[in-house]
Amino acid sequence: MLQIIINKGKCSCCGVCVEACPADVLEIDNDGKARVKALSECIVCRNCQHLCPRKAIRVDLPEYKETRYDKDIILV
């Protein structure tokens, strides 16, 4: 099953994952950290996972193997 796992301890509150989500799945919580708002909307593009500077967020879908295109993402 699909899961988005956020490690709140690692999260640096930069907001990149929220900015980068094309499906409006994530939002910024009152403490400034990322929070999952609507998991059902997730299109598993993994923008958040690969753009996070601290690797604090992970989209977990064990049934689906990532392609090399999915991983090749850079933050500028």
Binding site: M1, L2, S12, C13, C14, G15, V16, V18, E19, A20, C21, P22, A23, D24, I28, D29, N30, D31, G32, S40, E41, C42, I43, V44, C45, N47, L51, L61, E63, Y64, K65, T67, R68, Y69, D70, D72, I73, I74, L75, V76
Partner: protein, 603 residues
């Protein structure tokens, strides 16, 4: 530690001086930045979100349609020559195309597509199992964006993310820059640019059901309108038919799902309704439609969407959607699909598609209308170019699959080159007095003092619901008038009773303002066009009226009013022999059918 939920405007001001300013960093923006840099000018590429990845390009299927260099028998729906591509595009666009732009698209697509290799893009010209060029060769488009971003960085494009551009700055009808704020630091940003390129994409987000990135709120369309540029055919909004309508599935289509070709669309009564709507396009009546063409055909999506919309409008839908029945899909088709996105999204969330029917309903994708440009990408304002989905006229009233990315790629390059060339010859912009802009920006800061009477999400939802119900797939006079009235009411509420808590709210406020303006443009144009053509379906005028409506609808701002006028289509490039076009469309569809048979062995 930075807490973005409490961050406000800083009051600081930053001024950037540049030759070419590019707003938007999808495929068109990135390509324009690369092309402009080749002229040795200073280029700034800005985006309101992260660069590249929160875009329609990113979530698109990554298909770029271009005529094959050597026509190959199994090259699925790849056109065999540019002229064939062009003629078919005029037919599917139902003659509303700006033919000069369509011609450029078809004749430059191949060259520009192969040129992508130079930027390190691989896998674009994919090879299927038989060693032949394959249309479905490029899973997800991050492989398209990342090399372009790397190229931009290497050649020295100034890249700025989280810049929310609010408006263009124009002096005497010449665009001399843009202003906005930084979404993280809260600084005011002013760009002094010799030339500006809008590459902000479409306005799919104005609809409740959409398959676009959340950033596609029509910012560029609204900005250009407010600056006085001309826009055309805004009623043309393309819909993708097979977007999920289940609560626990994302609104996304099942692209490249091989199995979906064998699916059957059913209404509440369990009827296979599609053949009824396609009877006049169906040359072989003995065979059901989905077996002839494959239901998932990227080239007749607007006709399928129209059929689905009508079923729901005539109350034969279930929960505002129709069923997609995949129980008859042969086992071998599922095996082909093992690694597809279909599995990723549907099967992993506990659906048994061999048994259950699943709800589907169209969702908005490309905005086909947009800013009026000429063949150099120039808009009606000097100093302003536009490229990509934000421009209108390339596709006319409907488009083939794979043409949208081609448009972004080709017109991005053209606009980039033109803007750079002009900036080499133009003097410094005479923008020295920032007083007016500063006053506007200070007014933004006042929003933080006010308390909102409505939540911003609520207003956004109201716009989306209104647009989807009345200006979506099925449009009527009464519905459109109701929508225009409601949008006016929402606009009034929005102007007086809104406040912000943090910078993200401010970003949403600006997006809503743009969405309202785009909604109004779409609804007014749809009300004016009293016929059915391509993606625009008027329930009260169900026929195509070639006598009266071979015209584009042009929108212009006059003081504070939206002025709509019509302009005849220019047929100077290509005029088909017969214009009641049904016979020609059958021909197009027959071609599609043959290609489908060749690819999938006539199943």
């Amino acid at each position: 530690m930075l807490n973005l939920s409490k961050k406000r405007l800083s009051g600081k001001k930053k001024i950037y001086e540049t030759d070419v300013l590019i707003i938007g960093s999808g495929l068109a923006g990135l390509r324009a930045a690369i092309e402009a840099s080749r002229y040795g000018v200073k280029v700034h590429l800005v985006d309101k979100s992260v660069i590249g990845y929160n875009s329609n390009t990113r979530i698109s299927a990554g298909h770029i349609k271009a005529a094959a260099v050597k026509p190959r028998p199994f090259a699925s729906s790849t056109p065999s020559s540019p002229i064939e591509h062009f003629k078919n595009k005029i037919l599917i666009g139902e003659f509303l195309n700006n033919q000069r732009l369509t011609e450029i698209l078809c004749f430059e697509a191949t060259a520009k597509k192969y040129e992508l290799k130079d930027f390190g893009i691989i896998g674009l010209i994919g090879v299927d199992k038989k060693g032949l060029q394959d249309y479905y060769s490029f899973p997800y488009a991050s492989g398209l964006i990342t090399p372009l971003i790397k190229t931009c960085k290497r050649i020295g494009v100034n890249i700025l993310r989280n810049i929310n551009v609010i408006d263009l700055i124009s002096i005497n009808d010449k665009v001399v820059g843009a202003y906005g704020f930084h979404g993280i630091t809260g600084d005011f940003i002013i760009f002094k640019a010799k030339n500006t390129i809008l590459a902000t994409g479409g306005a799919g987000e104005v609809y409740k059901r959409n398959d676009t990135a959340v950033t596609a709120t029509g910012d560029g369309l609204a900005m250009a309108y407010r600056s006085g540029a001309l826009l055309m055919d805004m009623e043309m909004q393309h819909f993708e038919p097979f977007v999920h309508a289940e609560d626990n599935l994302p609104m996304m289509d099942r692209r490249e799902a091989y199995a979906a070709w064998f699916g059957i669309l059913r209404n509440k009564l369990g009827e296979d309704f599609l053949p009824k709507y396609l009877k006049k396009f169906n040359p072989d009546k003995d065979q059901p439609f989905h077996i002839q063409y494959g239901v998932y055909n990227p080239d007749i999506r607007h006709i399928i969407s129209r059929a689905m919309g009508t079923e729901v409008y005539e109350k034969r839908g279930d929960q505002g959607a129709v069923f997609f029945d995949l129980s008859k899909v042969p086992d071998e088709a599922w095996n082909v699909d093992k690694s597809s996105l279909y599995l990723k999204h549907v099967l992993c969330r506990g659906y048994n598609l061999k048994k259950d029917w699943i709800h589907v309903m169209p969702g908005a994708i490309t905005t086909l209308g947009g800013i009026l440009i000429n063949e150099k990408g120039e808009t009606s304002l000097s100093g302003l170019n536009a490229a990509g989905e934000v421009v209108g006229g390339v596709h006319g009233a409907a488009r083939f699959g794979g043409d949208a990315l081609a448009e972004a790629l080709i017109f991005g390059a053209i606009a980039g080159a033109d803007a750079a060339r002009k900036s080499l010859f133009s003097k410094d912009s005479n923008l020295n007095n920032f007083e007016l802009i500063e006053r506007k920006l200070e007014r933004l800061a006042e929003l933080f003092e006010k308390k909102s009477e409505f939540s911003l999400k609520e207003i956004e939802k109201k716009i989306k619901d209104t647009m989807w119900e009345n200006v979506g797939l099925v449009r009527t006079k009464t519905g459109l008038e109701k929508a225009i009235e409601r949008i006016k009411i929402i606009e009034n509420d929005f102007n007086d009773k809104i406040g912000c808590n943090n910078l993200r709210d401010l970003k949403t406020v600006i997006e809503i303002k743009n969405m309202l303006q785009c909604s109004e443009m779409i609804a007014l144009s749809a009300l004016k066009r009293e016929e059915t053509r391509g993606v625009h379906f008027r329930y009260d005028f169900p026929f195509t009226d070639n006598k009266k409506w071979l015209k584009n609808i042009i929108i212009k701002k006059d003081n504070e009013d939206m002025i709509l006028s019509t302009q005849g289509v220019d047929f100077s490039w290509y005029k088909p022999d017969t214009i009641p076009y049904d016979t020609d469309l059958v021909k197009v569809l027959q071609g599609v059918k043959e290609l489908h048979h060749r690819k999938y062995g006539g199943k």
